[in-house]
Symmetry: C2
Subunit: 444 residues, 2 copies
Amino acid sequence: MSKIRGILDQNAFNMDSIDQADARIGALVRKRLETVGPTSMLFYEEPLHIVRGEGVWLFDDQGRRYLDVYNNVPSIGHCHPKVVQAVAEQMGTLNVHTRYLHEGIHTYSERLLATLPAPLNRLVMMCTGSESNDMALRLARRWTGRQGIIVTEAAYHGNTSAVTEVSPSSYKQGMPPDFVHIIPISQMPAQADPAAWFADQVRTGVEQLNALGHGCAALLVDSIFSSDGVYADPAAFLKPAVEWLQAEGMLFIADEVQPGFGRTGSGMWGFERHQVTPDVVTMGKPMGNGFPMAGLVAREELLAALNSDVGYFNTFGGSTVAVAAGTAVLNVLEEEQLMANAASQGEYLKQQLTGLKSSYDEVADVRGAGLFIGLDLCDPTQAGAPDPVRTTAVINELKRNGVLIGAAGKSGSTLKIRPPLCFGRAEADLFLERLQQSIKATAG
Amino acid sequence: MSKIRGILDQNAFNMDSIDQADARIGALVRKRLETVGPTSMLFYEEPLHIVRGEGVWLFDDQGRRYLDVYNNVPSIGHCHPKVVQAVAEQMGTLNVHTRYLHEGIHTYSERLLATLPAPLNRLVMMCTGSESNDMALRLARRWTGRQGIIVTEAAYHGNTSAVTEVSPSSYKQGMPPDFVHIIPISQMPAQADPAAWFADQVRTGVEQLNALGHGCAALLVDSIFSSDGVYADPAAFLKPAVEWLQAEGMLFIADEVQPGFGRTGSGMWGFERHQVTPDVVTMGKPMGNGFPMAGLVAREELLAALNSDVGYFNTFGGSTVAVAAGTAVLNVLEEEQLMANAASQGEYLKQQLTGLKSSYDEVADVRGAGLFIGLDLCDPTQAGAPDPVRTTAVINELKRNGVLIGAAGKSGSTLKIRPPLCFGRAEADLFLERLQQSIKATAG
């Protein structure tokens, strides 16, 4: 089993090495295997037993603290008291589904819709980004009458049957189905004209899907290309492709599950940097800061078309408590000006990380927007080839140095930097210091 | 739009009648349409604006209280303080995913697995019953290498693309796909040999799926047939069909999203009444008493097979907070002996409801187990034909009389009785009294 590893397993604990683990950790891992089993994956060479979280910090069972540069779900900070309070109060007052009237859902929806371009005028509330992308695929296929979907090579869009098909990073064998066309975004030329290259890739994809008889329903991308290893620039590189697709009657689905809610610093949604208007926007992870909730925004006519075929109801989606959590998150984003913080701290961090390229031959590239940054590690002795082994070593060294981080990208050699948005200058400097220590410790 | 109605819309507010609604309600409905839109459905001829919940009671914005005979998510009672406290405490301490070690998930999993037959030895935690059934379909198809699924005629198993295909009650047009075989459970003979009839239906389904070249992967049923209108008896009527299927290498998936967690009174899981051991058990709704969580239990080898093809991770599934909510629910179920209460109150209620058949020609049949009971309403002037119009009238009359209830069944003429499990004798009597008033008020 340990030999079959998808991209997402890059930083996985190897269950075969359980006997080498600390006794206390080993016992917990054994219990995990005996109860949760095969689909469960643990991080790190030696898994981490976390017991407490606060702001940008996580604490293990030995009282050791870790700077969290990984978790983008608790986007306004671990255990933010305003979300905890809002959820506790609403759970103690009323927790019901959307088939009764309740003002909260309308107020929340209006507020969220106001952050999106006008044609996107309806919000469907769900529980997970997977559910949201699952519906997005259905909306696109129903609307266009076509089956094909274009995605990027290491994309992750969720875990349902339909969404796994369009999530190459989840494949271990036997995928993709031939109605999924894959764009090798890691080959996008940085210097030439990325927008023209991307548009060309999309056109080629549509031609191939047409030739196979599937046609193309939609281009589905995470607007910061998180799992692909973070491709943010140049801004607007999606524009020609999306405008051509839309003119031809196909849809553009912006998966904002990771970049959304201010993380990119320049707007609530990652697609804004690309000067496009999606047909469908999906969102999730940070929406409730850890309270399970997600959403899909689309034009009313797309939803009405699907609704004429099948009913849709989501038991927990848009519950009074989900709405309370989501509202608290929007409040905190505004009150603490976290989008501005993501912009300024992200800019500083990206500048400093880019500066490391001149000091460390192992640092090949730095890309990102706001507090979503990818840093490629390479092997200088192998003509700068991507270096997933070193990346795993750096991740584990950083953990020993009290910093939590993960990997992304087709080859698993991109450090994925996406801390809670309340990340400050002191934390950025601490991270930069520990990162350099870890690169040095694992070099050569 | 109002003309296209699935079974689930039986008790839906007709958006076309918005102008007849009370001004206050009308304004809220308009706001709903402008923000949430086409996939949103509201209950009742005039929607209800609920603002508070406690135990078996819900309260509207005018301070009026309603006995809740409908909601099976807050199964241990609306806003149960022990769940609220557990969630608030854990949210304030740590809310992270399953990729770090945390003892709670193992303890919870062991406890839950102990309620299931031994071959079912692994728990995957998710957010919704839909996600759980979606994975169940994949497990069955991966394990058998076959595509076909057998379900019942008005089944509801969730809302993802894959699960909607096997949910006839969601269809409005164009379904089912030919790899879905449908059993007309409403035609199951009550007096003859229902078990033989059901087994025969399954064998016929397998033959037809084989003839179409799909083969049959699994029989998927809600073990109390909730959406079909509640088919509980005779106990063990599933046994011959399931044993034959399993002997032939096909799987039995027990959807316990509605009957699970003690509702049927005679065990934690509805399938226990049928003396069968499922290959996969899915669960959801009451698992967190309203905190969004769900689970799938299966034999390890089924999960390992899927895991060799694709990775699976669920961001919110099995989070520290979900585990806290689920643990509190299990504690309360035990402390308040709610399963025993479901058995005794359910038995009383079923007896009394059955007694109504002799007084009211409109009451055609009563079926159920524990606190999950279906009552068929018919038109005595039409040879006892199912009467969905009367059913809708009774539901709305009950609402005016302070009782919340819904409909189920292929023809939408079954009252679906499934109150929170803390439902007491006084509430049962109140319900019986109001039900009779409502039948009288709508008769003739």
